[in-house]
Symmetry: C2
Subunit: 107 residues, 2 copies
């Protein structure tokens, strides 16, 4: 169970994960959606005042492409689009908690 990893392959595996999280705004977005929260585009905009629209969709689209969030479009006028985490996305929460706890342990 520890034998399947070489330093290179383990590093590579973690890097795949980091690539998913690495955008400048992805974590804030994630933490706004953890716990089953559903938010529309404009709500996220308000919740994260410093973000621009360009960055917001860019990050959302990448999270969507990576299977972390889903996008639900309501064909109304004015338009309405909702974002929420996938199951898999929700499961990220405890893993990030582990990192947070590690950081708190700094001597």
């Amino acid at each position: 169970m520890t034998e399947k990893w070489t330093p290179a392959s383990a590093a590579d595996g973690v890097e795949q994960v980091l690539k998913i999280l690495e955008g400048k705004w992805k974590l804030v977005i994630l933490f706004h959606l953890f716990g089953g929260q559903v938010k529309r585009f404009s709500e996220l905009e308000k919740a994260i005042p410093a973000i621009t629209q360009k960055m917001l969709i860019q990050q959302l689209r990448q999270l969507e492409a990576d299977g972390i969030v889903t996008r639900t479009i309501y064909h109304q006028v004015p338009p309405k689009v909702e974002y929420r985490l996938t199951e898999w996305g929700q499961e990220l929460c405890p893993a990030l908690d582990a990192l947070l706890k590690w950081a708190e342990n700094k001597a």
Copy 2:
């Protein structure tokens, strides 16, 4: 225990951690040192063929500054410098494992 975090502060906490891990070569280096391994500069160079010397020290220095690795200098000629993880650095391993396991769970 979950109340001390706002989306912004939790994201910020995780970002601090990601910043430590984010260099292009840091994870490979880390995984070469996990488990109490001690390596000298030249050994890491050989273990990670694609890395340049510039990148190798740069990443090592940053890991050192962040309290993850320690550097031991032997005043010999030719010089000898050894790198190993700090206690805190070792404790990163299970947290990274959590990420790896999460990644494996992708539906």
